[in-house]
Amino acid sequence: MPTDVTATTPDKWTDKPTRSRSEAFASMRYIALKLISAIPMILGVITVNFILIHLAPGDPVSILVGETEPTPEQLAALYAKMGLDQPLWKQYIDYLFGILQGDLGYSYVLQRDVVDLIVDRIPATLTLMLTSLIVFTIVGVALAVYVARKPKSAGDQAGSFLAVLGYSIPAFWLAQIILLIFALELRWFPSNGMVSSRHMYEGWDYFVDLLHHLVLPAFVLGMRYLAINFRYARAAMRDALSQDYITAARAKGLSERRVLFHAYRNGILPVITVFGLNLTDILAGSVLTEIVFGWPGIGRLMYDAMYARDYPLLMGIFVFVSIGIILTNLVIDIVYSLFDPRVRQQ
C-alpha cells in the first residue's frame, strides 16, 4: 500500500517541521488575494489618466497632438482611434483594452510609439537605480546594525543626523552641489551623460567609463536609500534586540556577534516592505537626479516631453511608472509572505 511519506515523517535533515497542506493553501490564497487586489489599482491608474485627457482644456485630440503638425492621415487615424463620436463609456473601454495590450499611445513630437520610447530608456534608469539601491542599502543597513549595539553613542547620533539630512535634502539640489564641486570645480568626474560621447569605448573600458559616469548620480540618489534603510533598520534592530529570544540567547552565553546575528535576521525583513512604500518618492528623486546629470533614463525623457508639450509621452510614462510601482509592491508582498508566515495569517 503506497503511503505519502513526506506528509507523515518530519524532515530530519533541516530539523524544520514539514509544511502542512493547510499552510500551503494559506500561502496560495494569500498570493491569489494579492494578485486580485492589484487589478483595481491598475484600473484606477488608467482611469485617472483617461479623466485627465478628457478634463484638459480643448478637445482631447488637440491635447494629444500638442504643437506638432501631424499629417491629415495621422489626424484621421487618431480621430478614428479615439472614437470621439462614441459614447464616453465606449471610449473608456477601448482606451483600457488598448493599454492592457501594451498600447500607450503615439508621440507626435518624436514620431514614435510611446512604449518603444520608454523601453529604450529602461536600461539607463535601472542601471542608476539598482546600483545605487544595492550599494547604499548595504551601507545603510550595515551602519544601523553597527550602531544598534550602542544607542546614544556618537556613531548613533551621527547616523541619525545623516538620516535626517538624507530625508530633507531635495535630490536635485544635492545633485547641483555635488556636480558643482566634483565635476565642474575639481573635475574628478564627468558632469553629463552615461558614457563619454567623444570616445567609443568597448569591453572593459566601456564598463570603466560607465562606472566613472555613474559615481556622482548614484551617490546623490543613494543618500535617500541610506536614510530610509538606516532609519528603519535601526528601529527594527532596536525592537529585535529587546525581544525575549535575545535575552535567552545572551543567557545561553552566546557571543555578542551571534546575538546580533539573531536579531539581524528578524530585524531586516521590514526593510523590504519599507522599500516598496518609499518607491514613489525614490522614483521622483531619480527623475530629478537624471535631469541634473543628463542621465539618459526615463526621468530625462519625461523632462524633454514636458518641454515639448508631448502629452501622450508624459501620460504614457505616468501609466507605465504607476503600473511598475503596483507590480513591484505586489512582488514585494509575495516575497515577504514567503519569508514571514505571520503575514499570510492576516
Binding site: Y167, P170, A235, A284, M306, Y307, I317, F318
Partner: protein, 289 residues
Amino acid sequence: MSMTYSAPKPVRPTFRASVAKLHLNTSSTIAIAVLIGMLLFAFLLPLALGTPNAMGDLSFGPPSLAHPMGTDDLGRDVFTRFAYGARSSLSVGILAALTASIIGISIGAIAGYSRGIVDIALMRVSELFQVIPRFFLALLVIAIFGSNIMFIILTIGLLGWPEVARITRGEFLSLREREYVMAAQTIGQSKRKIIFSEILPNAMPPLIVAMTMQVSSAILLEAGLSFLGLGDPSNPSWGLMLNEAQQFLTRAWWMAVFPGLGIVITVAALNVFGDHLTDVLNPRLKGAH
C-alpha cells in the same frame, strides 16, 4: 420639566504645562527655534524689503555687505528673493498640508466611524492614491492645466490626503469603542457632535505629527516641481530660484547654495520636530527613530 445634560467644562492646561508635556531635548528645541525663526523671517521680512524683481546694476555679484547672498543674472538681490521664496515655499507647504488634512480627516473620520462597506471602499481609494507616484501625477496635472500657485497648492494637497485619512481612520476605529463615546451615544448626542467634540480632539496627537510631515513633503514636492520650471513665475519660491540657478552653476554658486540651504534647514527642522512628537506621543516607540 426637561433636563439637559452638559458635560463639565474641561480644565484648560496652562501654557507652561503644555510646554513641559513636550519633553523638549536639545535637537527638538533647536528645530522649534528654527521653525519659529523661519516663519517670522518669511512673513515679516518681505514687508520690509523691496520687490523681489527689482533689478540692480550688478549682475552675478558675489555675496557682499550690500548683497549678503549676492545678486543673480538680472542683478536682483538674492537675499530679497530668498525672503520672498521663504514666504512662497512655506505658504505652499502649510496650505497644501491644510488641504490634505481637511480632506484626509473628513474621509478618515467617515471611514472609521461608519466602518463596513463605506470603510472598505474609501480605504481602497486611499491605497490607490498611495501607490500612484505623486510627483509624476502632479507634474502631469500642472503641465496640462498650467502653473498657478493656487492650483499647485490644491494639486499637492489633493495628493497628500491618504496618509492623513489612514491615521484618522485608525484612531476613529479604536476611539469609537471607548466608554465616553458610548456615554455620548447613550445620552443621544448627534453623530456630528460625537465625531467633532468627542472623538476628533482625542485623535489629534497623531494627526498633528502627520500634518507636520505633510508640510515638509509639500515643501519638497513644490520645490521639485518649481525646479522643473512648473512653478508660478509671479511668486518666486526656493525651487524656482534653484531652477534659475541651474544654468549659472559655475558662474554664481550663491544662486544655488542659499535657496537650497533654506529648503534643507526648514524640512530638516520639520522632520526632527515630527520625529520628536512621535516619540513623545507614542512611548512604545521611544527611541526607535
